[in-house]
């Protein structure tokens, strides 16, 4: 028996396939979002004042929705570029599993809902910073910087640095030096993290004409810049330990930051001073640096929260 609410075969064939929620979810770049949620949560938990659990959950939900919406806008804009790159060719838009209008509308609803919910439930300052982070990623980075300059990820990296700042503001209601330092840590972490990836997917970027650093300035210059940012990151990561006033981090964070950044620097030196052996080079040190950079950020922010609740 045919269900009464089913579409007749002739109409079903003519109608476009509806968007699967899994594809809509994939548009939000869930893996990137997990790092955004984590750093936002750590920014909130590291703040010197507590927040009501429901409001804290709402703030993190808004950060996740905002990040997901910005990621969906990025994929909507770059659907053609994604189709030309091996790493991104399986995304829903290049695969034709979603139409672009649905992706754009979904992204718009997520972004708007995240900002308004943050404003009404938490604070309009946090909502304003969230809105800035969405515009920064979707417009400044994706549309303006990425196709134009090899410094795209340096300036655009700021977009990913906002979550701990937003988390902190959600808890305290204002901006102090500590969340700005947390912003700076992610800002300086982004170039070596992303360039390590760009080194081993260089041909993909070259194919679609995105001027990533290894494509435009060459591998040697990229490796040197990775090293410079890793050197700068070492003292910067320890800065929350040395901040004056009540909100500075303790020894647990300080020691973890120096150890984690020391390993980051060691791996960066290996990448920075290396010359490729040929086109068949497996790029193992670059892949190791990329994998470690993700672990580094998780561990650094986890140390900040642990330190806040277990003061020495």
């Amino acid at each position: 028996m045919t269900p009464t609410n089913s579409i007749p075969p002739s109409r079903a064939a003519a109608a476009p396939a509806p968007a699967d929620w899994r594809d809509l979810f994939a548009l939000t770049k869930p893996r990137v979002m997990s790092l955004v949620i984590f750093t936002g949560l750590c920014g909130m938990l590291a703040a010197p004042v507590g927040i009501h659990p429901v409001l804290g959950f709402t703030a993190i939900l808004c950060i996740a929705m905002g990040a997901g919406g910005a990621a969906a806008l990025n994929q909507w804009w770059e659907a053609d570029l994604d189709a030309g790159m091996k790493r991104t060719a399986n995304r829903p838009l290049p695969q034709g599993r979603l139409d672009r209008t649905t992706a754009r509308d979904f992204a718009g609803v997520l972004c708007a809902a995240s900002v308004f919910l943050m404003g009404f439930a938490i604070s309009w300052l946090a909502a304003a910073i969230l809105a800035i982070s969405i515009v920064y990623y979707a417009v400044v980075y994706t549309i303006w910087l990425k196709p134009r300059t090899p410094q795209n990820i340096v300036i655009g990296g700021g977009a990913g640095a906002f979550p701990p700042l937003i988390g902190w503001i959600a808890a305290t209601g204002h901006i102090t030096p500590m969340p700005v330092v947390l912003f700076a840590i992610i800002f300086f972490w982004t170039p070596p993290h992303f360039w390590a990836l760009a080194l081993f997917v260089k041909t993909d970027y070259a194919k679609v004409g995105i001027p990533m650093m290894p494509v435009v300035a060459g591998e040697r210059a990229t490796r040197r810049q990775i090293l410079i940012y890793a050197i700068l990151l070492l003292p910067l990561s320890a800065l929350p330990w040395w901040l004056p006033g009540d909100e500075h981090a303790g020894a647990i964070y300080g020691v973890c930051a120096l150890l984690l950044s020391g390993v980051f620097l060691a791996l960066s030196i290996r990448v920075g001073l290396r010359t490729r052996t040929g086109d068949d080079d497996a790029m193992k040190p670059e892949k190791q640096l990329f994998a470690y950079s993700v672990l580094y950020l998780f561990a650094l922010f986890a140390a900040l929260v642990v330190d806040r609740y277990i003061p020495l």
């Binding site: 396939a17 509806p18 968007a19 699967d20 929620w21 429901v54 409001l55 709402t58 439930a121």
Partner: protein, 46 residues
């Protein structure tokens, strides 16, 4: 050859299945939003 359960999962889903699962997720999201707004109101009053 008999299809393994793993392969069976990869069968293309019908229009109806996709629509039904998307409606279910939408309903759950809306219900979640209503519950969230309720608890936000309680938290704000407290």
């Amino acid at each position: 050859m008999t299809k393994s359960p793993k392969n069976a999962l990869k069968e293309p889903r019908t229009f109806e299945e996709i629509r039904r699962s998307r409606n279910r997720v939408l309903a759950l999201s809306l219900a979640g939003f209503v519950i969230l707004v309720f608890f936000i109101s309680i938290a704000k009053m407290g």
